[in-house]
Amino acid sequence: MKIGFLKDIEPRVSLTPPAHIKYVKSGYDVSLEKGAGLKSGYLDEDYECKKFSRSEVIKNSDIIICVDSSSLREIEKFSNKTLISNFSGEKDTDKLKDGIRKNNITAFDLSKIPRTTIAQSMDILSSMSGLSGYKSVIKAAEILPKMFPMMITAAGSIKPVKVVVLGAGVAGLQAIATAKRLGAVVEASDPREAAKEEVLSLGAKFIEVEGAVEDKEAGGYAVKQTKEFLERQKQEVSRRLKEADVVITTAQVLGSKSPVLISRSVVEEMKPGSVIIDLASSTGGNCELTKDNEITKHNGVSIVGNSFLASELAHDASNLFSNNIFNFIDYVVKDGKFIDQKDDIYKSCKI
Amino acid sequence: MGELLNFLSQNEVLIYLLLFTVLLGFEVISKVPSVLHTPLMSGANAISGIVILGAIILIRTTDPQDFFTLILASIALFIGSINVFGGFFVTNRMLEMFNKKKNK
């Protein structure tokens, strides 16, 4: 089978040299768009595969892969081929589906991989969330005019920074771990029952809010919470936000808009110089003032709306992403054919 | 009761000795880690073969013509000695495991 990897608009690339070796071992014929890895620090020389222009790659391949579907504006060219990408950033889903159907394209959306133990090696959301969580803290530390750790020095003492993490999923947990590492005092909130133990297992404090709704069927995902819960949570959290220096929000609910956990008035009560990093911005943001893909300032508080911070760690992100894709292909393709369409993972990703 | 007291005062030292031996037996074993249970059991078993001393003494004091006693005692000695020798050798093998480490 011939697989082609396209260059993305964003810095990540869907094939790295180590992943390439795996494809070759598995007997695939790999081609790469020229210069695709440059922004992640992989030169064309680093790859031992064919490098073509974009149109040639598309023409020559059965399966075409790129990191983000927004790089795929030439949908008609993919007719009768297979497309694998992350479609979660897609603005106009209907149009895309239309194009896919019309052109008889087999398309897989990697962001739909189920959150099961066995699928974890293909789960781009997990791997990218981890990176985003880390980077969110680094970014906050870069913006914040304070040091994270406590310091008792001859010139006076520096108090440790207070970090509040809202949403202790994969990204949130990694943010907690990173902030703890840097010496911050960390508190976190999440409606999922399991989250409490997970937060404590990283040495952070958990903000208790009663009355969360849980759905065991949701596959580990959080479900929509009641108004009352969200209100109680807002109260509990706001109290802490006034003291906080850094707030990192990751709260998402599968299939709906992210809950708004920080209202304008709370932002206005926060200390000047504080930083909010909103990783949920692409699904509407957890802060009322978040603007997706923008850094705004309100009353001295910086609000960073960015759901794709992983892209800033392009080197590592590309590495994990391309491994995820390889693992996916390795799973769904057996002996040159796609496997049984009833397979859980196959079913979930198929558009 | 009077007899017992009598026996006691006659064998006073022996009774102290028995008491102390029992105490010693308890004391010696009381803090053994459980990995040593089997080897220790084996080692103690070998020691319990001390009964063959009786066989030796018996043989030595038996009339050389009293073949019945001699044969029976010899068998007892033979069987008992297997217990003793086999016991010590087996224990030794089990315990060598522990030595390996220390010699490194």
């Binding site: 133990t117 | 031996t21 010693l24």
Partner: protein, 459 residues
């Protein structure tokens, strides 16, 4: 001269036993005791006796033969059948005592004036205990070895039958002494004693055999002491009592190690064996004691620790590092096998171990770990579950099927630290826990590792 030798020998026996209660000196202790025994044999052979008549050939021949045979058996036997061996040996010891007593009693029957009655009582008791030790040990061996009779066999009214047997023995003995030695009574005594030995062991489960052997061993010790009284030999007396006492304590300790009482074991109490306190269709699990675990780690060459989410929950990473350091200072190679999905977020274990300052070079990844387990003595699984679940390989119906996992069971043995038998994230039971070479070490990981660390430091 012989008296001094006996004294030395007694000292060596005691001291040898004492040294054997510490792993570091146990081997030396056994040698001490062996030397003590040789000295005792030697001085018993040279000691001046009133009416000594030599017969040295009758002594030397059996000793030489048995020494050779004992040596060969000990060499050939597999490490795993040690308890059986001990059991056989113990039976032989019992038999030897029986023969001796019988010979002595025989002497008395022939010339009743040669012993006072009290000696005869001692002889009969010795005969009885020796017989019980003999048949009991043989049955114990059979149960251990073949596992054929390993179920407990309890007759109805077992206790009453036992009482009747005991009473019959006592009564026959009385008749025997009273009749000044009818062989019939003697044989009745012997037969019932032998049967009693079987009845004694029969109701006890196969897994409890080591306890029984230890108990029978202390019985043999007592016969030796009794025989010592008859032959007026202090070393026999003291050695016997020593073994009797030590054996009894040892038996109690072994019961404690299995969380049972001695009575419970003897009555064949609540289950067929202590080592299977929990079981379902999957089979039995085995628990490991603090000290066994510590010693096993301490004397390993290579240990691989598999951390999981439970280690994070318990926040025991620092203790884990501490144990790593203790082991390393004893030349044990320690590695951490990090499964890619262990924990609850990517890299959870890395974060955890970095907190404890575990060197990166100690971390090995899945593939490397799986190559390593084959040469590993102990795999220590701390709060991990799904990532070491063999169903991922074997069971196509498992939700984990297809996930690469850490094959900890390929190491010589594995120990799992967790709080209960409950499942991990994926919610499925783990067949690893029931494998032959796996042991469980229950408790919150922090407490468990604390106990382990204390035990290790005391070694």
């Amino acid at each position: 001269m012989d008296k001094i030798l006996f004294l030395i020998s007694a000292f060596l026996l005691v001291w040898g036993l004492r040294l054997q209660s510490d792993p570091a000196s146990a081997s030396k202790g056994n040698k001490f005791a062996a030397v003590g025994m040789l000295i005792a044999l030697f001085s018993a052979s040279i000691m001046p006796l009133e009416n000594s008549s030599g017969n040295y050939l009758w002594i030397l021949t059996p000793i030489v033969f048995s020494a050779v045979i004992g040596y060969i058996i000990a060499k050939k036997i597999q490490m795993t059948s040690m308890p059986q061996m001990v059991s056989i040996f113990n039976g032989l010891g019992g038999l030897s005592a029986v023969l001796l007593s019988y010979t002595e009693i025989n002497k008395w029957i022939l010339s009743p004036e040669s012993y006072p009655g009290f000696v005869l009582v001692v002889l009969i008791v010795s005969l009885f205990i020796g017989s019980v030790a003999f048949t009991g040990s043989l049955l114990a061996f059979a149960k251990l070895d073949g596992y054929r009779w390993s179920e407990k066999l309890t007759l109805p009214f077992q206790h009453i039958i036992n009482l009747i047997l005991l009473f019959s023995i006592a009564f026959s003995s009385y008749l025997f002494i009273d009749s000044s030695g009818g062989y019939t009574f003697l044989y009745i005594i012997i037969s019932i004693s032998l049967i009693y030995g079987i009845f004694f062991v029969a109701p006890i489960g196969g897994a409890d055999m080591p306890v029984v052997i230890s108990l029978l061993n202390s019985f043999t010790g007592i016969t030796a002491a009794l025989t010592g009284v008859i032959f007026d030999n202090k070393v026999m007396l003291l050695g016997g009592i020593l073994v009797g006492a030590a054996g009894t304590i040892l038996t109690v300790l072994m019961c404690q190690a299995m969380n049972r009482s001695l009575l419970n074991v003897l009555v064949g109490g609540f289950s067929s064996s202590g080592s299977s306190s929990k079981s379902d269709e999957q089979g039995d699990i085995r628990e490991i004691s603090d000290s066994d675990f510590a010693v096993q780690l301490f004397y390993s060459q290579k240990v691989i620790i598999v951390p999981g989410y439970g280690l994070a929950v318990a926040q025991a990473q620092k203790l884990c590092k501490e144990i790593q350091e203790v082991l390393e200072s004893n030349d044990v190679e320690v590695k951490y096998a990090i499964h890619p999905v262990a924990g609850r977020m990517p890299g959870h274990m890395n974060v955890l171990l970095a907190e404890a300052d575990v060197d990166y070079s100690k971390l090995i990844e899945l593939d490397e770990a799986n190559e390593n387990f084959k040469t590993t003595d102990v795999a220590v699984i701390i709060g991990a579950n799904d990532v070491v679940n063999p169903d991922a390989i074997d069971d196509t119906s498992s939700p984990l099927y297809g996930m690469p996992i850490l094959k900890v069971w390929e190491s010589t043995s594995s120990v799992v630290l967790k709080r209960s038998m409950s499942a991990g994230y994926a919610g499925v039971q783990n067949p690893l826990f029931f494998k032959e070479n796996n042991k469980m070490y229950f408790g919150d990981a922090k407490d468990s590792l604390q106990r382990l660390s204390t035990e290790l430091k005391n070694l």
